[in-house]
Amino acid sequence: MSGRIDEIFQFHQTALNLRAARQELLASNIANADTPNYKARDIDFARALRGALGGDGAQLALNTTAAAHLQGEAGETVMGAPVQYRIPTQPGADGNTVEMDTERTQFADNALRYEASVRFISERGKDVLAALQG
């Protein structure tokens, strides 16, 4: 039974963890808005969630047949999803690609969706409780 209850919460728990990780990335973008040569970063949320739930979003490993072959991992990952660089529409003269309007809207959007996930988990909990108590 506890396995079933775990399954009920698994989706939103994974989503919540990913939202929190993305929130951290966006906070880092906003914090570095004045740092020369800083490149704004983000993750593809839908793909990351698919990957984290064991779907097809995960990166495929490269086949290496010699010791000198490079692994295909391109740097940092968040819960298995690659961290990507944002393509700027108006890059700064100092090499900084943080666009505050984009970052702030994404930050607000992500925060709202985080709260939505929290609400979903709470409601799911109430549903399970109602089923148990009759």
């Binding site: 919540l16 963890n17 929190a20 990780a21 929130q23 951290e24 990335l25 906070a27 880092s28 906003i30 914090a31 570095n32 808005a33 004045d34 740092t35 020369p36 800083y38 970063r41 940092e76 968040v78 961290v83 505050m100 702030r104 930050f107 607000a108 925060a111 985080y114 709260e115 929290v118 988990i121 709470s122 909990g125």
Partner: protein, 134 residues
């Protein structure tokens, strides 16, 4: 936990921006200091921002890597009555550009506010997370 990391990231950005504001204040206050403890006119200072990556986490904070002296030429003013005037009657004054400093001040203050917003949002999200199951 990602949301707690945001406190560190936004906090480091706020510290860096307040140091920038501090330097702006020093430059503006000394815009007319024709002489200092070393007998030379005040030289404008600028902060250099740098990302501060923490091991094992994707979000990056900010730190002030150096406070450098502005290398732009000193302002020369004709004022024969000034005690620091040379034989031709010219006084070397600080190379502080008040317009640049005011722009710097506004930019620092806006970035600081942005990070305060980030911090508040993260705090709200954490509080919401604590209400799961209530």
């Amino acid at each position: 936990m990602s949301l707690f990391n945001i406190f560190n990231i936004a906090g480091s950005a706020m510290a860096a921006q307040s140091q920038r504001l501090n330097v702006v204040a020093s430059n503006l206050a000394n815009a007319d200091s024709a002489t200092g403890p070393d007998g030379k006119p005040y030289q404008a200072k600028q902060v250099v921002f740098e990302t501060a990556p923490a091991p094992g986490q994707v979000g990056q904070g900010v730190k002030v890597s150096a406070v450098v002296e502005d290398t732009s030429p000193m302002r020369v003013v004709y004022d024969p009555g000034h005690p620091m005037a040379n034989e031709q009657g010219y006084v070397t004054m600080p190379n502080v550009n008040p317009v640049e400093e005011m722009v710097n001040m506004i930019s620092a203050s806006r970035s600081y506010q942005n990070n305060v917003e980030v911090l508040n949002t993260s705090k709200t999200l954490l509080q919401r997370t604590l209400t799961i199951g209530q």
